[in-house]
């Protein structure tokens, strides 16, 4: 059974990658945007900014004003990433060194708690409910269960079928709903950085007088 689940994890992952690739193709099917205006500065400097300094709370007001959500989001996604790395390790029957395992456990449990906090925020605030759809809740629950599965499995090995099952469901759901942003995040940040970079808006000088 375990082997079947392992194969299931690999196949569902392949499905997710292929489906996301189709989404990329569909995105480009709308036509590639070509710029005709002359760049003021290099677009790639904007891209570097978009993935670096531009993500920091003192550079971005939306993060600075919502620090708990900002750090909650970072911790949640770090936990998901740790669970994904751990899944890879487990599927290929690799062993994590004990100190690393401890770090993974901490990252995953903090990630899980952050995910739940974000879920509760979405459910509790009327404005958040108004801009949410069932997919927003489902995606969070699904991924949080996956992270939980990974964490519990590190302590209690018989939990592995649940962990693998959650991974399969998550990968199958990935291209269909909100989790697709795991790909689009990187793409939109590139586009964002490039468009503001070429206009000379980003990166702003490091020291701006108030």
């Amino acid at each position: 059974m375990l082997l079947s689940l392992k194969i299931g994890v690999v196949l569902s992952f392949v499905f997710a990658v292929l489906s996301l690739s189709i989404l990329v193709i569909r995105t480009f099917a709308f036509g590639k945007r070509i710029f005709h205006s002359e760049s003021r500065k290099e677009g790639k400097r904007g891209i570097v900014y978009a993935f670096g300094r531009g993500m920091l709370p003192w550079e971005k007001e939306s993060a600075a004003k919502h620090l708990p959500t900002y750090f909650g989001g970072i911790l949640y996604h770090t936990g998901i990433f740790a669970a994904l790395v751990y899944l890879f390790w487990r599927v290929f029957s690799l062993n994590l060194p004990a100190p690393l395992m401890l770090i993974f456990r901490i990252v995953m449990v903090v990630g899980f708690l952050s995910g739940i906090a974000l879920l509760l925020k979405r459910a509790a605030l009327p404005v958040m409910r108004k801009i949410s759809c069932p997919d927003d809740f489902a995606a969070n629950v699904l991924v949080s269960l996956f992270v939980t599965g990974a964490f519990v499995e590190t302590l209690y090995e018989p939990f592995v079928p649940f962990f693998y099952s959650m991974a399969i469901v998550m990968f199958l759901y990935m291209p269909l709903g909100k989790i697709r942003h795991c790909f689009f995040f990187f793409y939109t940040r590139v586009l964002f950085g490039y468009s503001y970079g070429r206009r000379g808006v980003m990166p702003p000088p490091r020291k701006q007088k108030a």
């Binding site: 995105t27 945007r33 959500t69 689009f184 206009r199």
Partner: protein, 449 residues
């Protein structure tokens, strides 16, 4: 065109009267405007809501309809309904919605009535979605079925029909320039000082906002005085001189392209080398960044803001300014289209630091500055006037906190809005263009003739 006749709202009647083929046409145009970039944005919103506080509408009105993520969802929900598998099969699950009368009504109210296309939410989006670009795509769809609010549409129509958005006849423009030339000569004490019209072979082709000859003629004299002091070779055109382009706001790319192309044709006819755009935020964004996209062509000439030109004069020592001639404290409002969306960030600061004895920055400033509320065509759409003034409270508070007596802003839409905010919120300030302040500080050798 009047928006209301008796108790009837003609625009509302227009929405009610939309036929299925109209809705299909709007959807078709929405589809045509998409590309890989916009499609990625439409797939990416995670509804985190962190954009809320970046929008001056949401901060002032506190209603969900003003929240950028909500405004974006009006477009993404339609996109998902027609262009995604899950959206077609399970609309309730991801919130996809048909483009019907109700949705169109919401689009008009939020996409035209609660957004200035200022791009502040885009800068603050966790995902990096250029939200304002998508809002403009939705405006294009509405424009295709004649649903641009009347005041904004008539501004575009006037510009297309008459060559400038105020409908100024050519002879009036020429007479105004001649009259202002005399004013300039008197001011600089030199009868040879010129406001040149149609002077072939000039280096710079200078454009103005038609509100300048109509209501703010001194800003034309100010630019002329700076060019005079710098001994610049420049000219106006008697035909096409309107820097504004309300097609940017209405979403009508064809009209927008026509307006921008006219400037290019006049400039080329006169053999000028650089298109210099007067102090107009959206005019700069339109003609510097968007027009080559509307026209699908790369320019073989330079397009510059007058602020770049004047900042260069100062740095090259071509003009001298005496800041003591502007002793009052001056603050600066950064127009969104010029700064956040245009990249002209430091030039106006270089000028003001040389021209004013006391220059005070607003907080936040530069690309992070709040929109004043006058962009996006809001000043032309009277049906949303009250909302525009309420949304301007953020800017009014920002100005008040500086304690400045003069607000400099290189944009006539911003000037008009801040002048209204001045009245509405009793700020007790004066509003000026950056060039007016620079011109007041110019050190000239008078009485040459």
């Amino acid at each position: 065109m009047s928006e209301r006749t008796g108790s009837k709202d003609l625009f509302e009647e227009k929405i009610k009267g939309l036929k299925t083929e109209d809705l299909e046409k709007a959807l078709q145009v929405f589809r045509e405007k998409l590309n890989n970039e916009y499609s990625a944005y439409l797939n990416s919103c995670v509804h985190c809501g962190l954009c809320a506080d970046s929008c001056h509408y949401y901060l002032s009105l506190k209603d969900v309809q003003s929240l950028p993520a909500y405004k974006l969802s009006l477009a993404t929900d339609v996109f998902k309904k027609y262009f995604s598998f899950v959206g077609k099969k399970f609309p309730g699950w991801i919130g996809s919605k048909k483009l019907d009368h109700e949705r169109v009504r919401e689009w008009v109210d939020s996409i035209f009535g609660r957004c200035t296309l200022c791009g502040r939410c885009s800068l603050n989006c966790s995902m990096g979605i250029n939200i304002h670009s998508i809002i403009r795509v939705a405006r294009s769809a509405l424009a295709a079925v004649g649903l641009v609010p009347p005041g904004l549409q008539s501004t575009v129509d006037t510009a297309i029909e008459k060559g400038n958005n105020m409908g100024i006849p050519k002879e009036d423009w020429v007479e105004t320039v001649e009259w202002l030339e005399e004013e300039l000569q008197e001011e600089v004490g030199d009868e040879s000082a010129r406001l040149p019209l149609d002077e072939k072979g000039s280096r710079l082709f200078y454009t103005v906002n038609p509100r300048e000859p109509m209501f703010f003629p001194l800003s034309i004299v100010a630019a002329g005085k700076i060019f005079y002091a710098a001994k610049e070779s420049w000219t106006f055109s008697s035909d096409n001189y309107d820097v504004t382009n309300y097609g940017l706001y209405s979403g009508d790319d064809q009209a927008a392209g026509t307006m921008s192309e006219r400037l290019i044709l006049s400039m080329k006819k006169l053999g000028c080398k650089t298109l210099v755009l007067a102090e107009c935020g959206h005019g700069f964004n339109s003609n510097r960044w968007e027009a080559p996209e509307w026209l699908s062509k790369e320019y073989d000439f330079e397009v510059k803001s007058i602020l770049e030109v004047v900042a260069d004069y100062i740095q090259q020592g071509r003009i001298k300014l005496d800041p003591s001639l502007n002793p009052e404290p001056i603050t600066l409002h950064d127009p969104c289209n010029l700064v956040r969306l245009g990249g002209i960030v430091e030039e106006q600061r270089i000028i003001l630091k040389h021209a004013a004895a006391r220059f005070i920055e607003m907080t936040p400033n530069r690309e992070k500055n709040y929109c004043c509320g006058g962009g996006g065509g809001q000043l032309a759409m009277t049906r949303f006037s009250q909302r525009r003034l309420e949304a301007g409270k953020i800017k009014a508070d920002q100005i008040r906190k500086t304690g400045a007596k003069i607000v400099a802003t290189p944009c006539h839409n911003c000037i008009d809005q801040i002048m209204e905010l001045n009245k509405h919120y009793k700020l007790g300030i004066q509003v000026k263009t950056v060039c007016e302040i620079a011109a007041d500080a110019l050190v000239l050798n008078k009485n040459k003739k």
